[in-house]
């Protein structure tokens, strides 16, 4: 991998992290009045996968969408404005954090019903195959999704018609506060996809290069008309399920576990490697931080300066 590419992966992860942290800090001001699911700790998956995609490729996401949106190239200003409920938000304020969209970069939409967008991603891949484009669709989904029937229906249909889609499972072991072993039997998730008739693989989701290389080969496979693929990545959600805070005090997971999760930071790990190989040094790193800080701060300024929609706007666009 070129140093340039590596720096870009690093930068993309760091940018997501800094956005999430800024949101977490400012959430307490109570001006972003919507439920928000941060992806701190899970950045490598979004970044590794989206870096394997073209702009025309389509991404569908879920309630924990910020990372996917930003990694795919979604407009940061429009996202922050959306969280503030402003007219310049990517949904004009209608959606908030759980509904993001940026069609210009193939980010097709995110919604909070668990599993809800998975069949849509399949439909998007189906359309691509009918239309003869070479776009690949990606469905980001959590480990919780494998309990929802619609996800199995989606896997079945994608495999049946060999559609150009990659299912990317972010397995963080939790659905809200409930561990996977209270929701699913003791069997690997990716085997489910295999049983549905598609190639499947699993790896450490904290290793951005592994994620990226697996995604690249899956995308190539799908683009060549060889059908869907399934990738399962381990991940760790650092903060509370919904909201800006850490929730260690609730004791549903041990301090040791949380520490281990945070010590396995995908960004720190990658930074160390890039420092060692010389792709990055303290100066360039500081430069990146500064750029990001300015961009993020500008996004908040943009949001706060944006006009406020009213109930009058809400009457519009019920029908196309």
């Amino acid at each position: 991998m070129h140093d340039q590419t590596r720096r870009s992966l690093f930068r993309s992860m760091l940018r997501i992290r800094r956005v999430e942290e800024a949101l977490a800090t400012r959430y307490a001001e109570q001006m972003m009045r919507c439920p928000m699911h941060l992806c701190v700790g899970q950045e490598a998956i979004a970044v590794g996968v989206c870096a394997a995609l073209r702009k025309e490729d389509k991404v569908f996401s879920n309630h924990r969408a910020h990372g996917h949106y930003l990694a795919k190239g979604g407009d940061l200003n429009a996202m922050v404005a959306e969280l503030y409920g402003r007219a310049t938000g990517c949904c004009g304020g209608r959606g908030g954090s759980m509904h993001l969209i940026d069609l210009d970069v193939g980010f097709m939409g995110a919604t909070p019903i668990v599993g809800g967008t998975v069949p849509l991603a399949v439909g998007s891949a189906w359309a691509a195959s009918l239309q003869g484009t070479h776009d690949v669709s990606v469905s980001f989904l959590g480990d919780g999704c494998f309990e929802e029937g619609v996800v199995h229906e989606s896997l079945n249909f994608a495999a049946l018609h060999r559609l150009p889609i990659i299912f990317v499972c972010e397995n963080n072991d939790f659905s809200v506060y409930t561990r996977r072993n209270e929701r699913q039997p003791n069997r690997p998730i990716y085997r489910i996809a295999e049983a549905h008739g598609m190639p499947a693989a699993t790896a450490d989701g904290n290793d951005v290069e592994t994620v990226n290389s697996m995604a690249r080969s899956a995308v190539e496979h799908a683009r060549d008309g060889k059908g869907p693929q399934f990738l399962e990545f381990d991940a760790y959600r650092w903060r509370e399920h919904c909201g800006p805070d850490f929730d260690d005090h609730l004791k549903y997971r041990s301090v040791q576990e949380i520490e281990a999760g945070m010590n396995n930071c995908p960004i720190d790990r990658y930074k160390t490697i890039l420092m060692q190989t010389g792709a990055l040094d303290e100066v360039s790193c500081a430069g990146i931080e500064t750029q990001i800080r300015e961009e993020v701060s500008a996004a908040f300024d943009f949001a706060l300066a944006s006009s406020k929609p009213t109930i009058k706007d809400a009457w519009e666009k019920v029908y196309a």
Partner: protein, 362 residues
């Protein structure tokens, strides 16, 4: 149901033709559903389409109602125009999440940036022991959802025209077909034409009682109206609502202002039916024009039993409507005219089949 002797097609043939013409005209139109390309071709409404348009555009589907609804939404977002078919509307209960949480709201919640142009055909079963899980009339359940449009044509003419409009519409349109209309013929022009969504149609003029009716009940109301006019000189104004969302309340109000009396006839369970909604809207908007309490005609509030002995008199028919109209007018039933109406409206064949050709197993 029209007078000029033009080309006659059944409701089912009209649907087939509308799909055919829409597919011919617009390569984005695809048709998907369990059994679409099979030998029975969804009561022959999809016959020949696969041969003509190929296996890429005319699809069978796995038994995955929710997932495939989602896939159709995804395809629609990507520019296709899917027509999805459920042989029984009851199966669509599995797809409520995708229909309501996604299809209905996508355009709205994403600020109009994307839209979901798709049609979902759903067939209401009746007769020959369809029983509790294969005979529900769920239009009101869909009609309460902002973002959905719901149509329920009665005539073959409207079936074709509304299907074409529905396919061209940029929103999700639910197209509900009553199984007992499939064989009913009407004059159907052979060209590509549209019938607007959201407007009712006058089926029969009259100045005594307004009968606003949905789907098969409009067919029944027309029979009642003709007989009552001939035999008793009583004028029922039959309005075929055609669309369930948005409801064409204006047409009903106009008629009620003339007649002062309202019957709403629906194919669904009484309580919670769209008939109740229509009555409520009429009284909210034009209370003063009613001279008598509005009347609702619908099925009773229990599931359709399978046994044809039990299902006898389950569904209201033309006579139910005639009787209600007379009651509303305060007219006696002890007249020769009413006797003749009664005879004319009495059921000829078995009550659980619309005609002689209709028999089991379906």
């Amino acid at each position: 149901m029209r007078d000029v002797a033009e080309r006659q097609l059944t409701f089912a043939e009209a649907i087939r033709e509308s799909l055919d013409q829409a597919m011919e005209k617009d390569p984005r139109v695809i048709v998907i559903g369990e059994g679409v390309p099979d030998p029975k071709a969804i009561f022959n409404t999809t016959a020949g389409l696969r041969q003509k348009y190929g296996a890429r555009r005319v699809f069978d589907m796995p038994l995955s109602e929710n997932g495939l609804t989602g896939a159709c939404i995804g395809a629609a977002l990507a520019g296709m125009r899917p027509v999805m078919i459920h042989q029984r509307v009851d199966f669509a209960l599995l797809a409520m999440d995708q229909l309501i949480n996604n299809a209905a709201k996508w355009h709205y919640m994403f600020d109009g940036k994307a839209s979901v142009p798709m049609v979902v055909r759903m067939i209401v079963g009746r007769g020959w022991g369809q029983g509790p899980q294969h005979s529900q009339s769920l239009q009101a359940m869909f009609a309460m959802v902002p973002g959905l449009k719901v149509v329920m044509p009665t005539t073959a003419y409207d079936a074709k025209g509304l299907m074409i409009t529905a396919i061209e519409d940029n929103n999700p349109v639910l197209f509900i077909e009553h199984r007992w209309l499939h064989h009913v013929a009407d004059n159907v022009p052979d060209h590509y034409y549209r019938v607007p969504i959201g407007t009712a149609r006058m089926l029969h003029e009259g100045s005594d009682v307004t009968v606003a009716a949905f789907s098969y009940m409009a067919f029944e109301a027309l029979i009642a109206a003709k007989s009552m006019l001939t035999e008793m000189g009583i004028g029922l104004e039959v309005i075929d609502m055609r669309t369930v969302r948005p409801l064409d309340v204006e047409s009903v109000l106009t008629s009620v202002r003339k007649t002062g009396r309202l019957i709403v006839a629906d194919t669904a369970f009484r309580t919670g039916s769209i008939a109740g909604e229509l009555i409520s809207q009429v009284v909210e908007h034009s209370f003063a024009s009613l001279t008598a309490p509005p009347v609702r005609i619908a099925s009773p509030d229990f599931p359709t039993p399978t046994s044809h002995f039990m299902a006898e008199d389950y569904y209201p028919g033309p006579k139910t409507i005639a009787d209600a109209a007379l009651d509303l007018m305060g007219k006696s039933k002890e007249t020769g005219g009413y006797q003749r109406v009664s005879v004319a409206l009495a059921r000829k064949g078995p009550h659980d089949a619309p005609n002689r050709e209709f028999s089991g197993p379906f």
